[in-house]
């Protein structure tokens, strides 16, 4: 049983996956209060799911990009759980996790999050198969860099707050909101597969994917 945590943005996503099946998941909207609510939210979630800490076999974490402080809160908790329970840590990029939100699409998918300061975190994926495969690395740039993908007819999967601008400025025809997508679920599913293959992350010095200084 893997517990995955996503605190990379305004959401707090939690998921429990066992043998490839999502046992339980929860999407909370604490805004910027992750530091305050994380442990109690996890305690409530585990209790509701009737799972005790000692049943966990791995911890999954979204690595970023996203809010620096949010990422560190999730990662500090994940490291502490992993250290305390002596179980491995797994993780994937938030953008890769987001790509699981668009299944079976013939068109490439641009996953994006608001990076503030007039920039976007983004990456492009081929989502035609069972799991997304990456077409670009994770990037941070002004929105203009995404114009070519808009012209190429990609599906955009991003925050509601940016949808209007992308439709207007780059004539994106298919922009889907990702605000309510729980990034912890794909992380847990992928993480469990990784854990089974002994593909763990080196926990102690692990740092988030910041993408900028």
């Amino acid at each position: 049983m893997i517990l995955a945590i996503d605190s990379s943005g305004l959401n707090l996503g939690l998921a429990l996956v066992d043998d490839g099946v999502c046992w339980s998941s929860q999407l909370l909207k604490p805004g910027l209060k992750h530091g305050e609510v994380l442990q109690t939210a996890i305690a409530d979630f585990l209790e509701k799911s009737q799972v005790e800490f000692r049943r966990l076999t791995a911890i999954g974490i979204t690595l970023g990009p996203g809010s620096f402080t949010g990422l560190r809160i999730g990662m500090a908790a994940a490291k502490a759980y992993s250290y305390s329970l002596n179980i491995p840590l797994t993780g994937i990029s938030t953008l890769e996790s987001g790509a699981f939100g668009i299944g079976g699409s013939a068109k490439p998918v641009v996953v994006l999050f608001d990076a503030k300061r007039n920039e976007i975190y983004w990456a492009v994926f081929d989502c035609s198969g069972d799991t997304p495969s990456r077409l670009t690395p994770d990037m941070v740039s002004p929105a203009e860099r995404l114009e070519e993908f808009a012209r190429g007819g990609c599906i955009f999967f991003g925050p509601r707050s940016l949808g209007e601008a992308f439709r207007r400025d780059f004539s994106v025809a298919d922009y889907r909101d990702n605000d309510d997508f729980n990034l912890a679920i794909p992380e847990a599913i992928r993480g469990e597969i990784d854990a089974r293959r002994n593909m763990y992350l080196e926990r102690d010095e692990l740092v988030p994917i910041y993408l900028r200084n």
């Binding site: 305050e36 442990q39 809160i73 490291k79 502490a80 250290y83 102690d204 692990l206 740092v207």
Partner: protein, 330 residues
């Protein structure tokens, strides 16, 4: 009670293991060197270093103490004051560790931690006493009526003394951190070379102010030739240091006299300053002065574990939704 203490409020990633009340089994401090080239602590970089180093530092403390996490009976962590992003790394880690390992947990005020550094080394440092906490971020004078019961007598209205040392070091082209750099440069200097102002903030006030002093140093060297500054660097440093220490020592001793208290505790990074330690002793006249050893002056987790142990043994606990408080008061 076997306590794990964690401290990440500024640029030290620290963990310590202690058996209450004061048997220190391990005291691990990773001082982040990355800030040196910026001449001051860069908050985002401090947070990045904490998340990278913390597990290793905690693990090292347990190894050095010859203990397992399962042996730990309580976890204490700094929750303020300090840099919010830095505090959150240690606090989140400690809360999650306490939660998953099912251990009692308590958040500790960093300033109280500094006062406990003398508790740790000197059982005879018993309340009531006066505590002067002086560092890069703090300059406060307390009446410690009992452990856990503190009355603020006065604090700085602007810069902390450590900050003044850093800023003056920068003005004089010395390295960061400024405290040790100025102390070293001042070694053979004449402290009476130039009398920099002492901001007393009123005759009976326990308040401090150091920003004017920094400006006075800047103004003093402004119209001096580079050769003069080079030649008299030791004198200027010694004169500046004399001014800072004079104010600190004067107010701390005055507080003891006014409150008729016979014990004075000085702690925090600036308490490492040799001239301050010397001057307080010179003026003590019957007052017993307690000064931590250098490793317990700068930020460390041993003092947090000591304070945490004291509170935990009294049955106090913090909730798991305890948040970081960057401007926490004591």
């Amino acid at each position: 009670m076997l306590i794990l203490g964690i401290e990440t409020s500024c640029d030290e990633t620290a963990a310590a293991i202690l058996t209450t009340p004061r048997t220190l089994l391990a005291n691990v401090v990773y001082s982040q060197i990355i800030h040196q080239k910026y001449g001051g602590v860069v908050p985002e970089l401090a947070s990045r270093e904490h998340i990278k180093r913390l597990v290793g530092v905690v693990d090292e403390s347990l190894t050095r103490a010859g203990q397992q996490l399962s042996d730990i009976e309580g976890i204490a962590v700094t929750y303020g004051p300090g840099l919010v992003g830095a505090l959150l790394v240690g606090l989140t880690f400690a809360k999650s560790l306490a939660q998953a390992a099912n251990k009692p947990f308590i958040g500790i005020n960093h300033i109280e931690g500094h006062i406990f550094s003398n508790y740790l080394e000197s059982p005879e440092c018993r309340p009531p006493f006066v505590a002067l906490v002086v560092s890069g971020g703090h300059s406060s004078l307390f009446h410690v009526r009992a452990w856990g019961d503190y009355r603020l007598l006065g604090k700085t209205r602007d810069d902390a003394p450590g900050e003044a040392f850093d800023k003056v070091a920068k003005i004089l082209g010395l390295s960061y951190p400024g405290g040790p750099a100025i102390q070293k440069a001042a070694e053979n200097g004449n402290p009476k070379f130039f009398r920099f102002p002492r901001a007393t903030m009123g005759k009976d006030s326990y308040e401090f102010s150091f920003s004017g002093l920094k400006t006075a140093v800047a103004l003093y060297i402004k119209d001096k030739a580079p050769e003069f500054i080079r030649e008299h660097l030791a004198d200027i440093c010694a004169s500046f240091q004399e001014s800072v220490c004079d104010i600190l020592a004067r107010k701390a001793i005055a507080a003891c006299r006014d409150l008729r208290l016979e014990r004075l505790s000085i702690s925090g990074g600036v308490a490492m300053n040799k001239r301050l330690r010397e001057m307080v002793e010179e003026r003590a006249d019957g007052i017993k002065v307690f000064k931590p050893s250098p490793l317990l002056c700068t930020d460390n987790a041993a003092m947090i574990a000591a304070a945490g142990g004291w509170h935990l043994e009294r049955g106090e606990r913090s909730p798991l939704n305890l948040n970081a408080v960057p401007y926490l008061q004591l």
